[in-house]
Symmetry: C2
Subunit: 424 residues, 2 copies
């Protein structure tokens, strides 16, 4: 049942990327005669929306009522953990790499504080020559940088490692939606630390948020002086309340919880502080019951967002397999895709810019012949790191801790075209 004119590049239907690029594929367009185009009943008949003017320009744009009403998936409130929880980005419905601000994932430890920026203060103290206090207005006077960065919760995709059996109901959003990407604008943290004057014995910073959890994380000074920023804007606008308004720490490429939201204090220290949030959680316990602490960078990772869990292929034919790749250690050099559970691989197209520490879009054409398939993607970053298999992570780390799971994700397709989370 497969089309013999298509050039295969790997097993089970993966096609040369020049297909779908106008070089030989029959395509999805319906052929019509020119005479039909002029007929009243033809495809160029004038629809009602072309017959009368619509509403004009407005102060604030809204989505089409016909477009999918994209939403984050947020967990049910837990009465013993007020304000705790997360919401996940609808990855399977988004294209490109930028996440709109309203759809950026969240993870809160005590909900969202309602901060008046005129009353908010940022203190830099500890092992500095001169402790400093900054108002929001003060900070707006500094030179800022703008960079496109992903942010990922270290717990993202953890359910894939924890479970012994696949979850038939998992979607890209429910399993992997704790990752998003935005253009962040802020002040290089080094600027503010230099102004306070870091003393020689300082080698870490302790960052504390103004939420009711006093969320705190220790960050090595080397990172803080490298590319960390005090982020004030997100995709052009002031950062959203759920992202730390009026300001957050942002540590590019590192586990999301270190990018402390609602930042109110940076204390220069000798050694880490061992906050509650870096002992009670955010450590990785190994099979021998020892724990890794301060495992900051997010590993090289990729995910097929379409086809993905809960989708159905409704007919045999050519599909665009597409997804996202990212790495906390650089840019994405390569993404490979397999349709036969990892037995054979083909290079995917990179469809977006390849920014450092940012989501990168990939795709490859695939012909589904009506049989079963296991779709996987495997990313390689600019540092040469290759995304590992789920099994290799289990072999190495076990599954007591489920943070930092960046293994290859598998989606199975059955004969009916149903797509489900799978372990392969």
């Amino acid at each position: 049942m497969t089309n013999k004119n298509l050039e295969k590049v790997a097993g089970n239907g993966l096609l040369n990327r020049r297909h779908l690029l106008g070089m030989g594929l029959g395509g999805a367009g319906m052929a019509v005669a020119n005479t039909v185009l002029g007929a009243d009943s033809g495809p160029l008949q004038i629809p009602y929306w072309s017959r009368q003017p619509g509403p004009g320009a407005s102060p604030f744009g809204d989505r089409s009522r016909y477009a999918p009403q994209l939403e984050r998936m947020s967990g049910s409130p837990n009465p013993t953990y007020p304000g705790g929880g997360a919401s996940r980005s609808p990855l399977q419905h988004l294209q490109g790499t930028i996440t709109p601000n309203a759809l950026h994932f969240e993870r809160h430890h005590a909900g969202i504080p309602d901060i008046d920026p005129a009353q908010h203060k940022l203190v830099i103290n500890g092992l500095v020559r001169q402790p400093l206090v900054f108002s929001y207005e003060d900070l707006l006077r500094y030179t800022m940088v703008s960079r496109i960065y992903f942010l990922e919760c270290s717990g993202n995709s953890g359910a894939v490692l924890r479970r012994d059996t696949p979850d038939p109901n998992g979607t890209a959003q429910s399993l992997h939606g704790l990752v998003s990407c935005a253009e962040w604008t802020g002040i290089p943290l080094s600027t503010l630390l230099d102004e306070a004057g870091v003393l020689p014995e300082a080698n870490w910073i302790a960052a504390v948020g103004a939420d009711a959890a006093s969320m705190g994380r220790s960050v090595p000074l080397a990172k803080a002086m490298d590319d960390s920023m005090l982020a004030l804007f997100q995709n052009g606008e002031p950062v959203m309340p759920g992202q730390g308004y009026p300001m957050r720490l942002f540590n590019p490429g590192w586990e999301g919880n270190t990018s402390v939201k609602w930042l109110t204090q940076i204390k220069l220290t000798n050694g880490p502080v061992h906050f509650r949030d870096e002992t009670s959680k955010y450590t990785d316990t190994l099979p021998d019951r020892s724990s890794l602490q301060f495992t900051f960078p997010m590993g090289v990772k990729s995910l097929i967002t379409s086809p993905s869990g809960q989708m159905s292929l409704n007919q045999r034919g050519i599909y665009r397999v597409t997804g996202l790749a990212w790495s906390g250690s650089g840019s994405i050099r390569r993404v490979e895709v397999s349709a036969d559970g990892g037995r054979s691989w083909a290079d995917a197209l990179i469809d977006s810019e390849r920014h450092e520490k940012a989501l990168t879009r990939f795709s490859i054409p695939w012909e589904w012949n009506g049989g079963s398939a296991i779709l996987q993607s495997r990313a390689t970053d600019s540092a040469g790191n290759v995304q590992p298999t789920r099994q290799s992570i289990l072999d190495e780390r076990g599954n007591i801790a489920t943070y930092h799971f960046h293994g290859i994700q598998s989606w199975s397709v059955n004969n009916a075209g149903e797509v489900r989370d799978a372990h392969a």
Copy 2:
């Protein structure tokens, strides 16, 4: 009254960019004693929002009630031109380069059609081997590319050329807000044209929208086969209704009206069609009453967004002068800033990525000494084009036509610190 320790790089207070980068500037932070930080009345006293948990994660994020409620500025409706008009992006309040979808500028000729994508068709016909009709679902199967591009209305900033006297009430938004920037995702137009099979005698395309104005523009085939796309997504989401939902043509770097929204037909032609919208408007009439037609690429341009019209400097001292630069002919190589009306210039910092045909953020520190100043910026693109003065455009083209004004913009600062639109 000026600080003698600051290194000047051009007249009237422009400072070396290492100031504000933590290398010598006293800075804006308030020095405090460590003992004060522990006192109940000190800056680290616990505000009310840190004393109780806030609301948890939600399906759709909203802006802080304390943040500026950014809006587009939309003109008053004209009863003889239903649905006509524009809305302008709040450039003076945005940072970075990405414009959130709700704030992307609009320009409509007959308002926004309420299109059901399930009923919308895209026809490719004319000088092709095989006319084709595409549904929205068909198009989602194609490989897409994602690129960050500016879009600018050819009429943007035209008022600056037209008026003989400065407008004391003009803002960056009201004068220049018909430019925005987004990550656009779509199908390379060449893919679809190749599928229809372009005949040798075709050298233009005629693109028509499904709005009640049947907005149409002719585009040379060379551009269509180069980097034009059929855009389906904007910053990750389906394109907004005001941007052409479910699909628009997108011609990177070219005047906005050629990127026909609500695209329903592409006809391959020999020569341009001379639509109403490329004869009655969007031509540039010269002093001798001849008109330039099909002046597509937007010129290299920059704009200081802060300080800008209607702002006030409330005290002497160091300010961050920042703005945007862009070019329809490539990326931004250099931006210079002057504080003395163009007598002396200093290189600004480039604070963002430098994408092709995209907004680029620049800044430079400036010490306002309480006197008068004229702030200007001048961009140079990767093709070597330098942004011209307003006067040189007047000398060359006159001001009958005000499209494609990309001259240097001047903001005056008076002794009271008031910032106004000016011609210098």
